[in-house]
């Protein structure tokens, strides 16, 4: 017999743990396959709980993936943002995209973004705001500092950078991770930077 207090706390903790286990299972599966290929069965068996339990914590299959989205935004705002407050723009971009390579190294991010943007779900989120906000800040600062080419808008810079990064991650993914993504990312962003840097610098 446990004390009521301990018991209640344990219960809450257990619940949180179960929720986390489900989340981790779902997230790790996304590294391995497409959303469509992941079944509730996959998730719960990896999490070690029963089917019904899943629906105790998440409203649907999509819901749990929506959570991963929310989390990664939080990660960028809380972890990455502070680390790109100093140094020149090139350096900041390299740090930013190293994080991108690290956290979103899987193209599951792409799959997920697309998924969440699709159809009826379109409304329930406004694209990776956290992630985007951080990048925009770097670029805005770079323009202000005269490091980036003022012939391009903030948005244009971001697009070029993100397009390259996504394309690279995609290639890394279809190659089954055949090359070191971090290095490739550094090279690519570094090289692209030459095309973005303010003329004469």
């Amino acid at each position: 017999m446990e004390t009521p207090g301990t018991d209640r706390l344990t219960r809450q903790e257990q619940a949180q743990q179960t929720r986390q286990r489900l989340f981790d299972a779902a997230y790790s599966l996304l590294q391995e396959k497409d959303f469509k290929d992941i079944t509730i069965g996959d998730i719960v068996s990896r999490a070690g709980v029963s089917t019904g339990t899943f629906y105790l914590y998440y409203a649907s299959k999509l819901d749990v993936y929506y959570q991963t989205y929310v989390l990664s935004d939080a990660y960028f705002l809380s972890e990455v943002a502070p680390r790109v407050q100093q140094g020149d723009t090139r350096e900041r971009l390299l740090i930013y995209f190293a994080s991108y390579a690290y956290y979103n190294s899987d193209y599951s991010r792409i799959k997920l973004t697309r998924l969440l943007y699709n159809g009826e779900n379109r409304n329930f989120l406004r694209r990776g705001e956290g992630m985007h906000t951080v990048l925009e800040a770097i670029v805005a600062h770079g323009l202000q500092a005269g490091e980036l080419d003022r012939a391009l808008t903030v948005e244009a810079h971001c697009d070029l950078l993100m397009d390259m990064a996504r394309g690279l991650v995609y290639r890394w993914c279809i190659s089954d991770g055949a090359f070191p993504l971090a290095d490739a990312m550094r090279s690519a962003i570094s090289r692209l930077y030459r095309a973005l840097a303010a003329p004469g610098r």
Copy 2:
């Protein structure tokens, strides 16, 4: 009254038209969603034929998409290749990626490549050889002519260019074609070219 000869041709033509309608329907759907999300029902209803008819022309869902792959390779080798035999490298790249934007404008290409590279299908094709070959030729020529940066290999140039192109197409796709892809492609490749051009040119 038609001649018998014409008559027979009409039948064949009709069949070919149906086949094409199915192909187009499948292909256009791929611009909109993932292979996994496309159903035979989607394809046939867009093509305006019945379920059974689909299987008259294609052996399976995968088959029709494999055809798109084969066709695009042929397109690059026969149509695009001749058009990038002259002009400077920058111009050639712009033409090449304009074709890429036009023909493969969708990221369906990406999805398809991934699809075909996957699992058991991995063996039955070696990645978009036609398309790749043409790009490699442009880059090789550009290096030889001293227009591109010799610090990068042919392969590295191709990767950077393709990553950017794919990333852009991907964004265009998830935006539901919200911006003119051709223009964006031209801008992006043009800008990236600055980072690839031989120093001092």
Copy 3:
């Protein structure tokens, strides 16, 4: 240009030939697989005609098999019956079942019988009358001649003989024809005869 007369005859002959080709194709397929597993496609491709042509000669898939049934009855009445008019009962039975082994050596007969007896088709034929009639005649004669055991009715004799024959053919079939059916049939009927012969003979 052919003469009209020749032409018309040729046409009729051709039609008959086509009909026969379809019949043969259908029948031979029944030796190889179940009715359910045989497709119109199988039949017409083996017959070397088009799908539509099949329906010019037979109303349905079932129809063509009904014809095989009718034919085998005719075979027993016209070919076998005359050959069992003399000799002792044992000999007659051996001849009868040799024919059975020969003509129905495939268990397609069984499959077909079952098929035709089934469901809605039940009405359109009364069991292999030709075949049965011949056997009944042999048995009736054997009883009259005092060669068979009068403790058993004609029907009982026929049932025992047919059960044995069918069971044997079935085993031969599932063994993929691993043993000579004709010999096995002769042995089995011959042995069974001992149990049917009038006591004291």
Copy 4:
């Protein structure tokens, strides 16, 4: 109010019952039609459950029939074998085939055997070993005891007996059970025994 223990058992029992209902439905359908003609829809509607439920208990349509095969073998080894350890050979055979008529009364057994022997499944079982073993033991004993005809091998005895039994069951089946199978089986085996008994007994 039930105790928790009882409660859990009830759930399990219910599941087992559902499984059994599906099994029975499938098995009884096999008495009526060919494997190929039986649909999952037939099975589940007879069992009174939904389509999905079927796949909760059996991996495929073939699977459920494989189970019937396994079970009947077990039945013969555990139930029938002990009951044929005494009495004369004739009596043993009558008991054996009464069981055959009872448990495998349908020719579904035949169809199933054929089915399981077919194609890829050929390897996964060695024909009705349980059932066969028991019969062979009876015959071997009968030969040793001088009750059966030594001019025939064990195998030959078994074949004749099984052919007759199968043929009879087949006829019973296509007659829609128009006569009492048990009686007919007894008569047939009893009669056939006369042809197998050692001469002079």
